[in-house]
Symmetry: C2
Subunit: 252 residues, 2 copies
């Protein structure tokens, strides 16, 4: 089962969510995490330092390296297809190829190796460009993290328009796993307002229980650890555990 | 004087900073704000709702509308070149043109009208793509907001590499106004750690006093107001006032 974590709004906890979910899924199953963002935050957030000659997601998408050569292990039983600054090059190279096949590069590269992994989690860059569309063409499910703030809520409207087009033209199997409110401060009226608007404007989408705002998350990023390895506080892990439970129940 | 607000890391307060600065600059001078992000957050954050036929930054960059036709006024004495989802189309259209002139589209479009404005503030998308490079080719100064967190700090290293290349190949006049730490929680060790690392790793850049984290900022975004119109709390406005003071002192 392949899941993309995407939202073109920046800083909504896409990467933090991808790390948390891959870490939890890897407790009971085989899991591959894929970093499609040129910032390489999923890679550093899982505690991986790239060696100079290490092939990355860019090489795999451009066909310069087979997937098994680029995959690296982490300390958390999660395999990783790392990403770095070279992904900026991948997007430009793909854009120059005018043919529609450029949207299926990731899918083609993954296909022969999927049997090895029960779960694949893909972290997307903050933009609905070719790399994210490659992810949308590849996955079964899409999780949309949304910060409990005005700009992030507004971005969700654009996102749902794009998903409709993707389902019609690119990947009819793509379904939305749900919207995950993040960095929620339930004691502020702003968060309460936004949660209310989310539930009313997007009543056709599943809205997960929010992830509380806590400094433990940035700390865990800095430490290169999934959240449940960094803290015992169940209230911080539980929202991600809820997502995993839904994923495991859906398993075809 | 033209200033770009950029950082490929998402959610670091680029847009919130652009709104705050444009709002303050407009108190004593003529100011144009430009929204180069397909999310259109600068546009909604200044309280502007686009009318259906309204030309945007996309039309101006592709030469489909002259700048004066696309400019709209706001309630804050700031003129705005609005942005919306069509900017995704602009980036793809520019990428298809292989010639280097595609990096100077914004500069060409602005040139005849610059005399009207003492200050121009450009909000960039969370990516170092063609739209942001167009901004870099156009501006005198670059302000880099950085959230006081690990991922944002890591992103700054890539950013400075890009700036070197831009200064050599695209715009030798481009200078860095400084780094603006945002959403700072000075009572947490994480923020203190990050501030220490910023000052030691980037000792050649000017590091402004940090903007405190406060729910007043997301509230002001939702209200479509610059921060100093939304709150009287000087501790929230002062860091932006410091940036404006540096800008006005630099005025050629
Ligand atoms: N629940 C949370 N509470 C507090 N901080 C959080 C939480 N989740 C994530 N963060 C922090 O917020 C920042 C943004 O999160 P993250 O980088 O994961 O977002 P993103 O959507 O992947 O950003 P980008 O758009 O740049 O890819 C990070 O510094 C992260 O540590
Ligand atoms: N000082 C602050 N304190 C608290 N929240 C803030 C502060 N500055 C900005 N924010 C909030 O953080 C979120 C991210 O800010 P903003 O959207 O301005 O960042 P951005 O860098 O423009 O994001 P993107 O990468 O998507 O363009 C917004 O919801 C904003 O309201
Ligand atoms: Mg990310
Ligand atoms: Mg923005």
């Amino acid at each position: 089962m392949i899941i993309a974590i995407a939202n073109q709004k920046g800083g909504v906890a896409k990467t933090t969510s991808a790390i948390a979910l891959a870490g939890l899924l890897a407790e009971e199953a085989t899991c591959l995490a894929i970093d499609l963002d040129a910032q390489g935050n999923l890679t550093t957030g899982l505690g991986v330092e790239l060696k100079p000659e290490q092939p990355t997601a860019c090489d795999v998408m451009l066909g310069d390296a087979p997937l098994p050569k680029a995959i690296t292990s982490t300390n958390w039983n999660v395999d990783l297809l790392p990403g770095d600054f070279s992904l900026t090059r991948a997007e430009e190279a793909l854009l120059k190829q005018a043919n529609p096949e450029r949207l299926y590069r990731l899918k083609q590269a993954l296909k022969p190796h999927l049997k090895q992994y029960e779960y694949v989690v893909i972290d997307c860059p903050p933009r609905l460009g070719l790399l994210t569309l490659n992810a949308f063409a590849t996955v079964d499910w899409l999780l949309i993290p949304v910060q409990c703030q005005f700009f992030a809520l507004k971005g969700l409207q654009n996102m749902t328009k794009t998903i409709d087009t993707v389902q019609q033209r690119l990947n009819p199997q793509l379904r939305v796993l749900g919207v995950l409110p993040t960095m929620a401060e339930m004691n502020t009226t702003l968060t309460q307002d936004i949660m209310k608007q989310l539930r009313s404007q997007f009543d056709d989408l599943h809205i997960f229980d929010p992830v509380p705002k806590s400094v433990r998350f940035p700390e865990s990023n800095m430490a290169g650890k999934p959240i449940h390895h960094h803290t015992r506080e169940w209230r911080l892990v539980q929202p991600y555990h809820n997502v995993v439970r839904k994923i495991t129940l859906l398993e075809p």
